[in-house]
Symmetry: C2
Subunit: 364 residues, 2 copies
């Protein structure tokens, strides 16, 4: 039986990546040691981290104006590091945040320790069922940055229009892309900082990818410790101390896999096909329903409800028996959530669609 893991993160990685990592787990590049047993300063791991950065730069078309950093602590550490490093410490220093879900709210909570947080837009009053349209936002002058969460894993929403340089008028755009990085083509030049915990689209948990415009690295106050300063990572090639070598190695394999697939534009086409197959099934039915505004629907986390919680429990149980796991909605909201990151094959989505149709027929 094929197993399809729809977990929201840590999530399924490409089968080819897992099999390659397994094959060379105990003997990397003929050393007789696993990659996780090798010195981070030796030639083998140096080639891993260099290749990984080169792949990321190539896939996302990142210019030399940006640094590509690998930092521990996940997106939650970035919630603090962003304001620690780039929030103005002058009287009245502030940053603007769009509140589009649980993770935006967590980011705002940490930022408040370092300055004032202004909420530029929020969908909190309607249970985060949409992302407010960017074109209507009114940016205040003097904001240290504007922070957005591009995809919201709990509510199942996603920006399909992002602020552009023209909208921003010089304010750096900071984006938490933990759950949709490398899932669609974006213009990195529109951003000041992009950060993403790896454990959804990029690899295992334990490393966050941070892409930062070089001028933003120079703003950090002297009082910030070494491990929390972007300049520490930029100056050392993310090797100030021992980096999470195995997580970076896996991230490297995933970027290699994306390249072999044909790059992010190809992945994006597949992601559109996968998510549309699910939304079409939901929309064609009066049994399944989506709580999300059509214009804000996520292509990564497809959230839906059944007529009752009893039916949802039965749905989860029967899906698991067929090898489809991780479909339970976030504990804060309930319901069903199919997380279909880059690594989920179309066949997995097709299996889920078939099951949804069958389950509806048997339970309507």
């Amino acid at each position: 039986m094929a197993v399809y893991n729809f977990s929201a993160g840590p999530a399924a990685l490409p089968t080819e990546v897992m099999e390659k990592a397994q094959a060379e787990f105990c003997d990397f590049m003929g050393t007789g040691s696993g990659v996780l047993e090798l010195s981070h300063r030796g030639p083998q791991f140096s080639s891993v981290i260099e290749k990984t950065e080169a792949n990321i730069r190539e896939l996302m078309n990142i210019s030399d104006d940006y640094e590509v950093l690998f930092i521990q602590g996940g997106a939650s550490m970035q919630f603090a590091m962003v304001p620690m490093n780039i929030m103005s410490r002058e009287e009245g220093g502030f940053a603007e945040y769009a509140d589009t879900g649980m993770w935006s709210a967590k980011a705002m909570k940490e930022a408040k320790l370092f300055g004032d947080v202004k909420v530029i837009a929020s969908s909190k009053e309607t249970n985060y069922d949409n992302v407010p349209p960017v074109r209507r936002w009114k940016l205040s002058e003097g904001s240290s940055y504007l922070h957005i969460t591009t995809n919201n894993t709990v509510a199942g929403t996603q920006y399909h229009v992002l602020p552009t340089a023209e909208d921003l008028k010089g304010t750096p755009l900071v984006a938490d892309m933990s759950s949709d990085i490398m899932s669609s083509v974006i213009n990195v030049n529109d951003f000041g900082i992009i950060y993403a915990g790896a454990q959804k689209n990029l690899g295992p948990s334990g490393v966050a990818l941070v892409i930062i415009r070089k001028d933003l690295i120079e703003k950090t106050p002297e009082s910030i410790p070494s491990m929390l300063r972007y300049d520490t990572y930029a100056k050392s090639g993310s090797m100030f101390n021992t980096p999470p070598t195995f997580a970076i190695y896996m991230l490297g394999l995933v970027t290699e896999w994306i390249k072999e697939k044909g790059g992010i534009a190809v992945i994006e086409e597949i992601n559109i096909a996968k998510s549309e197959a699910l939304y079409e099934t939901i929309d064609a039915s009066s049994f399944y329903s989506s709580p999300v505004h059509p214009g804000s629907r996520s292509r990564m986390n497809i959230v839906f409800r059944l007529p009752s919680e009893e039916l949802e429990a039965k749905f989860l149980k029967e899906a698991a028996e067929l090898g489809m796991t991780g479909l339970k909605g976030h504990r804060a909201v309930g319901g069903i959530r199919a997380s279909i990151y880059n690594a989920m094959p179309l066949a997995g989505v097709e299996a889920l669609v078939d099951f949804m149709n069958e389950f509806e027929k048997n339970n309507s």
Copy 2:
């Protein structure tokens, strides 16, 4: 040819651990997914982290007065987190540090951002060739804590006598045990905080083990971000955000392996035998020399010199040809360093001793 990896860290892990992790890499507990693809809140990973903590508590005989936490960022993050959390913010707040090497000095640098650092003892003037005798230290009253680095990987020194509760008179002892944790039996009750990056004795890089006395968790100022507060990890079972699941899983396998070997007391006996075999070879020869005071010699990192740098280069080259790798001394000091953490089998040390004798014969 048997390969023996003498790398200082990331370092060799037990062969049995590596083989088990490889065997179940793509299918953990019959899920059809690897452990690194599974939700950190699912039943499989919950059992992993609970078992890992239980193993650590059992092996180190840790009482309920202590929390066992898993934190990202390695020991270097702890250099900042310790003072952030427990350094007194009152006027004149200070902590005492013993300066026994490069890593102690790095810890002091971060602490200075949060209060005054007093150096209670230092071997800096003699290139860190010893650890100053604990019994002669004069603790000042009112110190927030006393910080030591129990094993110094660069200089190759180690404390063989640690401060006891009687010496400390109520001052919490904070110990960076990154390079010798679980290598010998200690009394955890003598310590306020023990921390250790995993990548030497415990597992891969990407996770630090922190053992902290519960009363010390309550001292953190409100201004410290969530991810840098010990109470965040204590309240959430180290699951405030996605933990580094694979690194914790590997740490769990290593603790299981130590248990199967018979526990830390048995491991300590083996570590004594391994290190003595090397020091006896050095002391019996006029070709090899140890730069370290005999009473301070590390059982983890055996540092030695040959008569010339040319001979050292030749030694490293020939050793590598025989499958003995990672023997180069730290780039700051040069020479040879054999790191023989728990996972290094006696056979690896015997192979190195044989080679040393042979090399001396051929090159004297």
